[in-house]
């Protein structure tokens, strides 16, 4: 057990150090959610009569943006792992006696950390413009979104190890990213859509977190949608992490 924690710590530290030394990525990670708030949220103002206030817009839009941030932060790990395959890092780590799970968990935790920092920043900036902060609800939401980062990050790592090429990875990711984002209701609530769209949305894991996120952000700690989201996210985290560890075990450049 001690070996496991030490190793996860070491791999986590390695990734964080790498991230901190490439400040360009930190900046771009921060910019995306802020740009959404700045350039997209004003479009929502005139969707209803009378026009929504900035605070109202942010209240319904910020939770979705946090989900989107979690999703895109996790997605990046596939690119990193392909680079590590090509430079022999994966192979070097795999000849050490370190647990394969530690290698995965270290990088997943680093992704979680690089999600939390901009997420908190987004909340603080949004609060400044009138977003209502319900501390407990937001904390629970962040925990849920950390699991989402873990799912996406582990998935992306595994896909990277399987397809081994940046081009193929980009194809897989972009093919999935747009439908998953649209169906999740991040940008506009799915409830606005026709029945078939609302049904199809249920195959999208993001849909459940977005639904739950809107409730949690209002400070309400229990609702069916929150329960359903946990019931989807928790088992999915376990399954994807286990699968990605298996893929790690077999990976060769």
């Amino acid at each position: 057990m001690k070996k496991l924690f030490t190793e996860i710590g070491l791999f986590f530290q390695r990734k964080i150090r790498e991230n901190v030394r490439q400040p360009v990525w930190i900046m771009s990670g921060l910019m995306t959610p802020l740009l959404y708030i700045l350039l997209f949220s004003p479009l929502l103002r005139n969707l209803s009569h009378p026009p929504l206030t900035t605070a109202q817009i942010l209240n319904s839009f910020v939770p979705g943006i946090l989900t989107l941030l979690a999703f895109s932060t996790g997605m990046g790990s596939g690119w990193t792992i392909i680079h590590e395959l090509e430079t022999g890092v994966v192979e070097r780590m795999r000849v050490t006696p370190a647990y394969r799970f530690s290698m995965l968990a270290g990088s997943v935790l680093a992704d979680i950390a690089s999600f939390l920092v901009p997420a908190v920043l987004v909340i603080v900036i949004a609060a400044f413009f009138g977003f209502e902060v319900h501390v407990v609800g937001l904390l629970i939401l962040l925990v849920m979104l950390c699991l989402l980062v873990a799912i996406v990050s582990a998935w992306s790592t595994a896909i990277g190890l399987i397809v081994k090429q940046i081009g193929s990875l980009a194809a897989v990711v972009t093919t999935l990213q747009l439908p998953l984002t649209l169906l999740s209701g991040i940008l506009l609530p799915i409830s606005l859509g026709p029945l078939w769209l609302r049904v199809v949305a249920h195959i999208d894991p993001l849909y459940y977190t977005v639904e739950a996120s809107r409730v949690l952000a209002t400070g309400k700690l229990w609702a069916t949608s929150i329960g359903v989201a946990w019931a989807v996210i928790v088992p999915l985290t376990v399954i994807v992490m286990a699968w990605a560890t298996r893929v790690y075990r077999k990976a060769v450049a």
Binding site: T6, R14, R17, Q22, T87, R92, M93, V95, T96
Partner: protein, 274 residues
């Protein structure tokens, strides 16, 4: 005493992919390498060298046959094997954005050394491999030769019994290559068994106590460089067309005698196939 590396009938077949049929990369390799030896594993690209090394270092499941490394069965006790070997892959695998010291620290800790022991070990290996000056610089700024020595250092932080090296001098200029050879010989002096995969004949000639030549997944010759060269008659040497006057049999002659083509030709064939 057990051999450091022992294989019996080691095989690996890769399943058919796309249009190509199944590839028999390794077709029954028997090796017995005693402790403390530098063993050269020589052959053209695509001969099955790297596949063998990957199986012996637990990176690739063994297809068929048996392999024991450092006294442990590779298939049944992979984690024990990993604790007792070091492996330097073709691609190196150092972390570019981290400093040399940070790379070495991670490696030492992953092999189970305490922080303090790792710090001590870093001083020792950096002296052994002359890493001194750039140690606290980010590895991306290091020269090719320095990087290669760092990557060897990463593989010996835990004093492995057996060190595997896959094409360690690829991409190095002659001066850096000679320098690397000196360092590899230093490791042997410390009692390490070294399994050296290479397609540079001069490298095997300069370093190996014994060597095996592998072609199309099979071992075609095995012995000391001298023994192998003695098998080639002066007439056969004379057949070799070269600008300089040949002084004696080279390992290329050995390869030619057995495989009917020069190693360099074998490689350009590979490239054409690819």
């Amino acid at each position: 005493m057990d051999a450091a590396i022992e294989t019996v009938g080691l095989k690996k077949t890769f399943p058919a992919k796309g249009k190509g049929g199944a590839v028999e990369a390794v077709r029954g390799v028997d090796l017995s390498i005693p402790h403390g030896e530098i063993f050269g594993f020589l052959g053209p690209n695509g001969a099955g060298k790297t596949t063998c090394q990957r199986m012996l270092t637990t990176l690739l499941p063994i297809g068929a046959g048996q392999a024991r490394v450092a006294g442990f069965d590779v298939a049944r006790e992979p984690s024990k094997v990993r604790c007792h070997i070091g492996a330097v892959g073709q691609l190196g695998g150092s972390d570019g954005p981290a400093t040399g010291r940070e790379n070495l620290m991670l490696s030492g800790r992953l092999y189970g050394l305490s922080r303090r022991d790792t710090l001590r070990k870093i001083d020792e290996v950096s002296e052994l491999l002359d890493l001194g000056e750039p140690l606290d610089r980010v590895v991306n700024t290091w020269s090719g030769g320095q990087k290669r020595r760092l990557e060897i250092a990463l593989g010996i932080m835990h004093e492995p019994e057996v060190l595997f090296m896959d094409e360690p001098s690829t991409g190095l200029d002659p001066q850096n290559r000679a320098n690397l050879w000196t360092h590899i010989l230093r490791l042997k002096e410390r009692g390490m068994t070294i399994f050296l995969t290479t397609h540079y004949l001069e490298e095997a000639d300069a370093l190996a106590d014994r060597l095996a030549i592998i072609d199309h997944g099979e071992i075609v010759a095995e012995g000391t460089p001298e023994e192998l060269k003695r098998q080639v008659s002066p007439e056969e040497v004379a057949q070799r067309i070269q600008r300089e006057v040949p002084s004696g049999a080279t390992l290329d002659d050995v390869f030619f005698k057995i495989c009917g083509r020069r190693l360099r030709d074998a490689e350009s064939e590979e490239e054409e196939v690819a």
